[in-house]
C-alpha cells in the first residue's frame, strides 16, 4: 500500500435536516487521479469539501496529508489543497484583474503581514502562460467567459503549489471547445506535477482519460468504486443514474467511452 494522503472513515455531513454524506469511507494514495461521478445531489461536492474542511463532519473521521481534519487544522490544510469550485456568476464590475485573482492563490501560504514578491508575480505570469491566459492577465476577472474563468481558477489553485488538487465540475456550464481545453489542461498538469487529484463530474463525457480509479456516488454514499474499465459498463451506469445510458464506441475525452443518457 502506498502513501495514503486522504483517509475518510464513516464520514457523515448534514446541512440541517438534509444528510449530504452518509457514512463515506475512502482512501486515496499520493499521486492518484480519481474521478468521482454520480447524479446531481449524490454528495460529490460535499465529499470534496470534507477533504478541505469547508464541509463539517457531524460523525466519522477524516485525515488529510497526515493530519486530522478539524477546525484547528482547517486553515493550515487549505493552504496545501488547491480547490476549483463550480463556476459561479461573477459581477462584471468587480475591481480585480485576472492576474490579481490568480495571485490570491499565494495569499494563504504567504500568511499575514507578508506581501507578494516580484518572483511570485513572475510565477503567476508563468502559470497564466501555462493555462493560456497571458493575453488576458490585465483584464477584469468579471469580463472572462465561463471557460476562461475556470482556467483562471485552475491557475489560482496551481500557484498555491498544492499537494492535493480538488476539481468540482470544472467543465460545467462551458461550451464543448472550452471543455476540451480545460480537460487537456488538467491532464497536462497531472502529467507534469503528479498531484493527488479528485475530479468530480456528473457528465461522463467530461471525465479525463487519466483517471486511475472511479468512485460512483449515489444518495450520499459510495455505491461502487474500481477501475474505469470495471465502472464504465453500460449496466453499472444505468443503475447509477437510474436512466438509460448509451455507451457508443467513440471516446468522449480520449480513452473512455462516450456516454449519454
Amino acid at each position: 500500500m502506498g502513501d495514503i494522503v486522504i483517509s475518510l472513515k464513516d464520514a457523515v455531513v448534514s446541512y440541517r435536516e438534509d444528510v449530504a454524506l452518509r457514512g463515506v469511507s475512502l482512501e486515496v494514495e499520493r499521486g492518484e487521479f480519481i474521478g468521482i461521478i454520480g447524479p446531481n445531489g449524490a454528495g460529490k461536492t460535499t465529499l470534496l469539501t470534507v477533504v478541505n474542511d469547508l464541509g463539517k463532519l457531524v460523525h466519522g473521521q477524516a485525515r488529510v496529508l497526515g493530519v486530522p481534519v478539524c477546525r484547528r487544522n482547517g486553515i493550515k490544510l487549505r493552504k496545501r489543497i488547491g480547490y476549483v469550485a463550480q463556476a459561479e456568476n461573477i459581477d462584471p464590475r468587480l475591481p480585480i484583474s485576472v492576474r490579481e485573482t490568480v495571485m490570491v492563490g499565494y495569499y494563504g501560504r504567504l500568511g499575514l503581514f507578508h506581501r507578494p514578491t516580484e518572483d511570485q508575480w513572475k510565477n503567476v505570469d508563468r502559470v497564466l502562460d501555462l493555462v493560456g491566459l497571458s493575453h488576458l492577465s490585465r483584464r477584469p476577472i468579471g469580463h472572462l467567459s465561463g471557460g476562461e474563468y475556470q482556467r483562471a481558477a485552475i491557475a489560482r489553485a496551481l500557484v498555491q503549489q498544492p499537494e492535493i488538487f480538488l476539481l468540482d465540475e470544472p467543465t460545467a456550464s462551458v461550451d464543448p471547445q472550452a471543455q476540451r481545453e480545460i480537460l487537456s489542461l488538467i491532464q497536462l498538469i497531472h502529467s507534469q506535477y503528479h498531484m493527488t487529484t479528485l475530479f468530480v463530474t456528473h457528465d461522463l463525457e467530461t471525465l479525463p482519460s487519466i483517471c486511475q480509479r472511479l468512485v460512483l456516488m449515489r444518495e450520499g454514499q459510495i455505491w461502487k468504486e474500481g477501475s474505469p474499465g470495471e465502472m464504465l459498463g453500460e449496466e453499472v451506469l444505468r443503475q447509477l443514474y437510474e436512466a438509460g445510458v448509451s455507451v457508443p464506441a467513440e471516446g468522449g475525452s480520449g480513452k473512455f467511452p462516450r456516454c449519454g443518457w
Partner: protein, 280 residues
C-alpha cells in the same frame, strides 16, 4: 473678487474641515468594503443600530458615542452570522434587525423627557458644531482604519472580491469578514454626531458606489472613493455655512450628485449593455 477665507480662522470651521476629512476618509473606505461585497443593506442596518444606541445614551445620560459603538458592534455580530448561516433569507433577517433598530430609536426618542435637542442633532448631525472629543475619536478611528487597510490589504482584497476563494486558499476569511463588519460599525459610530443618524449611510454608500462605476482597480477605487467622500464633506460644509443649510443634508446631497455624475459617465455602462447583448 477674491474669496473671503477669514472664516477658517474660527475654531469651529477648522474643526468642521478636519471632521470632513476624517469622516470622508473613514466612511469612504468602509463603503468600498460593503459596496464591493454587495452588502449595502448590512451597512444600512449597522448605521441604524448605531443611531439607536446613541439615542439610548442620550436618554439614559451616558455618552452617545459609547451607545452607538456598542449597538453597531452588537448588530454587526448578530447580522453577520444570520446572513452567513442562511437560516432565513439574508434580506429578511437583516430587514428584521433593521426595523427593530429603527423601532428602538423611536422608542428611546419617545421616552426622553424635555426638549430633545441633543437627540434631534443626532438625527441630522452638525459638522459645524463638532466638539474636540468627537473629533479626536473620529481621527483615531480614521488612522486605525487606514492602518488596517494598509497592513491587511491583500487579505481584504481577497475577501471582498472572492470570499469563498479566500476561505479555500487558507486565508482566515471569516475573521477578516467580521473585522470588516466591525470596522463599518466603528466608523458609523464615530461619524454619527457629525453627519447624523439618518444620513450617515449615504456618506458610506455614495462615494464608494460612485468609485465602483469608474475603475476596475481596487486601490484606485479606494483613492477615488476617499476623494469623493472628503469632497462631499467639504462642499457640504461650505454650502451649509454659505447658504445656511443643514450640514448633514448638504453633505449627503453633494455625495448623491457625485454618484449621479459617476454613473452617467461610467465606462462600465458598456459592460452592462454588452451583458444584455446577443451573447446573453
Amino acid at each position: 473678487m477674491g474669496m473671503d477665507l477669514s472664516v477658517f480662522q474660527y475654531q469651529f470651521m477648522q474643526n468642521a474641515v478636519l471632521a470632513g476629512l476624517c469622516g470622508g476618509v473613514t466612511c469612504s473606505i468602509v463603503g468600498v468594503f460593503v459596496v464591493t461585497m454587495h452588502l449595502s443593506f448590512i451597512g444600512i442596518c449597522i448605521a441604524h443600530a448605531a443611531f439607536a444606541g446613541a439615542l439610548l445614551g442620550v436618554w439614559l445620560g451616558f455618552n452617545p458615542l459609547i451607545g452607538a459603538l456598542i449597538f453597531s458592534l452588537a448588530s454587526a455580530g448578530i447580522i453577520g452570522p444570520m446572513a452567513d448561516r442562511g437560516e432565513l433569507n439574508p434580506d429578511t433577517s437583516i430587514g428584521i434587525v433593521f426595523s427593530l433598530m429603527l423601532g428602538l430609536a423611536f422608542l428611546f426618542m419617545g421616552l426622553m423627557p424635555g426638549a430633545r435637542t441633543e437627540a434631534l442633532s443626532l438625527f441630522w448631525g452638525s459638522i459645524l458644531t463638532v466638539n474636540g472629543g468627537n473629533l479626536i475619536f473620529l481621527a483615531t478611528v480614521m488612522v486605525v482604519i487606514v492602518a488596517l487597510l494598509v497592513i491587511f490589504y491583500k487579505e481584504i482584497q481577497a475577501v471582498i472580491c472572492h470570499r469563498q476563494v479566500a476561505l479555500a486558499v487558507g486565508i482566515p476569511a471569516t475573521l477578516v469578514f467580521y473585522g470588516l463588519l466591525f470596522s463599518t460599525g466603528v466608523s458609523v459610530a464615530a461619524s454619527l454626531p457629525t453627519i447624523g443618524g439618518l444620513l450617515i449611510y449615504s456618506l458610506i454608500l455614495n462615494p464608494a458606489a460612485a468609485a465602483y462605476q469608474l475603475t476596475y482597480n481596487l486601490k484606485r477605487m479606494i483613492l477615488i472613493a476617499v476623494a469623493f467622500g472628503v469632497a462631499s464633506c467639504w462642499v457640504g460644509v461650505a454650502a451649509s455655512y454659505l447658504l445656511d443649510l443643514p450640514s448633514g443634508a448638504s453633505i449627503v446631497i453633494t455625495s448623491s450628485v457625485i454618484f449621479g455624475l459617476a454613473a452617467a459617465f461610467s465606462p462600465k455602462r458598456k459592460v452592462k449593455k454588452w451583458q444584455r447583448g446577443p451573447a446573453s
